[in-house]
Structures are given as C-alpha cells and as structure tokens.
C-alpha cells in the first residue's frame, strides 16, 4: 500500500498513540473489576497493587499524549485562555495516586482571590506539567528515601508585573546536566552512568520547550545550589477576565 505525500512515520506513530487508548482504558477498568471481585478480607497490599497498576496506566497515557503532541505541528496549536487554578486542581487530583504510592506531597501556591489566566493550549500545558510533576515526585522520593515528611514538590503560580504568568516548579531531586542528558536521549543504548537525572522521561523536556515556545512563552531550567532543580515556565497573561470585569 502506498499513499503519496504522507509522512508514514508520523502517521503511524500518531495512530499507534491513539490506538493505545482502548487497551489502556480496558486495563484500568479490569483493575476496577478485579478490585470488586476480591474477597472483602483481601490484604490492603493487593488493593494497593491494583491502584499501582492504574497509576502505571495513567503514566502510559501521559506518554501517549506527549507522543501525539510531539507529532502535532506547533503552528496548529490552538491557543486559548487557560485558568491555572482549575488546571492545578485537575493535576493535583490526577497525580494523587502517584503521590500516595511514592509518599510525596504536591504543594500548590496560587494567588488568593485573583484569577491567573495564561494564553496557551490547555491540553498541551496539562500534559507538560503532568510530566514535570510526575518526574519531580519520582526524583523527590529518591532524594528523601528515609524521610517521607520532607518529600514535597512545590508548584508556584503567579501573575508577574511584566504582564505574564510564571509557573515555577521546585524539587529536591538530583540536578540535571542538559548536555549529558541529551546525549543519553540520542544514544539510548549507550547508558551513561554519570547521568543522574535523564531528560525528564526523555521526551518531555524537549517537547515542552518546543510547545511552550509555540505558546509564545519560554522555559528555563536550573539546578539549585542546595540540590534539586527549578523549572520556570513563562506564558503570556490572558486579559479575557480583566475585560469581563470591566464590562460588569
């Protein structure tokens, strides 16, 4: 079969990412079914295993979403006002099982009684932040193996005077060496033992940088002096709500 003018690799990958949905959804539902079929005196560990299975499915969904976004032409990304409070609430609830599994808390800091609305693509931003937060939760656990109380990943959202929105993520995990991490991505079989923190699930950071730029924003990442990293995402502020307030 031959279809002229079609980038077969991209089409095949997009189709594969889409086709993953049905079996993953089924796996998730089968875990619920098994949960219900277990005898009531089944050990909590068994139920936790089923919950972990659902968490793993959720992570696979996120990878499939990232793959689909990576294949999206960034010029076709629909930009819209994104309410960051609602987005943070949704991320927190989606990542609860991973937080429980790895005994790490997410701490969201948002301005009180003040809407924070950025211009971006909701789905892309959610997938990017979900990837960042999932990675941060995993590395935070590695860093504070003995002390679960110290495992806190912080996400701070703020309106800035310069007319944009800042989303800052802080964790205490190992620092990141971008050059070495990139090498590890390009040559996955040549495992470099000096790479303490691979490039955010290989795809996420590269993809995030490309998509954030397509949203007219920018992404910066730096190692903190006392350990951990900060990822700062800057996006333009949406003035939609300000205008609505003025009309009222």
């Amino acid at each position: 079969m031959s279809v002229e003018g079609v980038d077969f690799g991209s089409v095949a990958l997009t189709a594969a990412a889409r086709d993953l949905t049905a079996p993953l959804v089924l796996l998730r539902q089968l875990s619920f079914q098994l949960d219900g079929q277990l005898a009531t005196n089944e050990s909590p560990a068994t139920r936790q295993t089923l919950q972990n299975l659902r968490t793993a499915v959720g992570r696979t969904f996120n990878i499939a979403d990232q793959l689909r976004l990576a294949l999206t032409d960034e010029n076709n990304l629909v930009l819209e006002p994104v309410q960051l409070k609602g987005l943070c609430h949704e991320l927190n609830s989606e990542l609860k099982p991973l937080q429980r599994e790895l005994k790490c808390n997410l701490d969201f800091e948002l301005p009180r009684r003040q809407p924070v609305v950025a211009v971006g693509n909701y789905q892309a931003l959610k997938t990017i932040l979900n990837g960042f937060l999932s990675d941060a939760i995993r590395y935070e656990g590695q860093c504070h193996q003995q002390d679960a109380n110290r495992r806190i990943v912080r996400l701070r959202v703020a309106n800035r005077h310069s007319g944009d929105v800042a989303i800052e993520l802080h964790d205490d995990g190992p620092g990141i060496n971008l050059a070495r991490s990139l090498e590890a991505v390009m040559e996955p079989n040549n495992v470099n033992p000096t790479v303490a923190r691979p490039l955010m699930g290989s795809l996420n950071l590269l993809l995030a940088d490309r998509l954030i730029r397509a949203m007219n924003g920018r992404l910066t990442i730096h190692n903190r002096r006392r350990g951990g990293i900060t990822i700062e995402t800057i996006l333009p502020t949406s003035h939609q709500l300000t205008l609505l307030e003025a009309i009222r």
């Binding site: 049905a22 959804v25 089968l30 619920f32 219900g36």
Partner: protein
C-alpha cells in the same frame, strides 16, 4: 471498598459502548458494587430498542462508537419527554474535552473521562441519580 448489599434496590442500567470487553467489565463492576442489572449494547439502534423494551433507570454512554457517534441517539432521546428525563452519564475517552454546558440539554447529568475516572465516583453518581444509595 464497595460491596454488594442485597437489600439495596436493583438499578437497571444500559451501557452503550462499542468496546464490548470494556462494557462487560464495567457491568460486572457495577453489579458487584451496587447490585446493578446492566444491559450492554454497542450500536445506537439496539440501544434505542432496549430503552423501549426494558425499564432502564440510567444510561451510560460512550460518545465514539467505532465509525458512529452517540450524539444522534442523544438528540433522538431528547425529543421525547420520558427519554429526555432519563438520566445519562457520558463515559468517554474524550470526556475531558466535553462540556456539561453543551450536553446538559440532552439530559446528560455527568461526564467522566475513561482515562481518569474513578469507579467509586461513578457509582456514587449513579446512586445519586437513581436514588438507589443509602
């Protein structure tokens, strides 16, 4: 932990989903959790027949049904007062992209994303909509 409590009234549900394995697994889960009696259908015409022939208390509908979608069925159901009043829950992989504001006029009471929904939440919503809870 949800358990099957025989004293609860039986709720009759219709699950419209083209993935019969998913529908069957969901039916099993709901039977265990709330003693629900579930009919599973994969195409809108057969779903309509089931609604006419069985006493259905609530519909659980997937939007994408292979090469078709459930919007035509929702539109059809909204034209009769009895079927408009029938509580409907959307359970779809595109759930997060759908809005209750858009689908509420079809009698849709809740929307869940198949990729992230929690069975306990779904069960609670079914009980709330059918008055079958405690």
């Amino acid at each position: 932990m949800m358990s099957n409590i025989d004293t609860k009234p039986i709720v009759t549900l219709l699950i419209l989903d083209d993935d019969q394995q998913f529908a069957s697994s969901l039916a099993d889960s709901l039977a265990v959790a709330i003693n629900a009696n579930c009919y599973c259908e994969s195409d809108p015409e057969r779903a309509m027949q089931a609604i006419d022939n069985q006493k259905i208390d609530l519909l659980i509908i997937d939007i994408h049904l292979g090469d078709r979608n459930a919007l035509t069925l929702l539109n059809e159901l909204s034209t009769y007062p009895d079927t408009l009043a029938l509580p409907k829950i959307i359970l779809s992989s595109s759930g997060s992209q759908l809005s209750i504001d858009d689908l509420g006029s079809y009698g849709v009471a809740a929307i869940y994303d198949k990729r992230t929904y929690d069975l306990a939440d779904l069960v609670h919503k079914i009980q709330e909509l059918t008055d079958s809870g405690d």
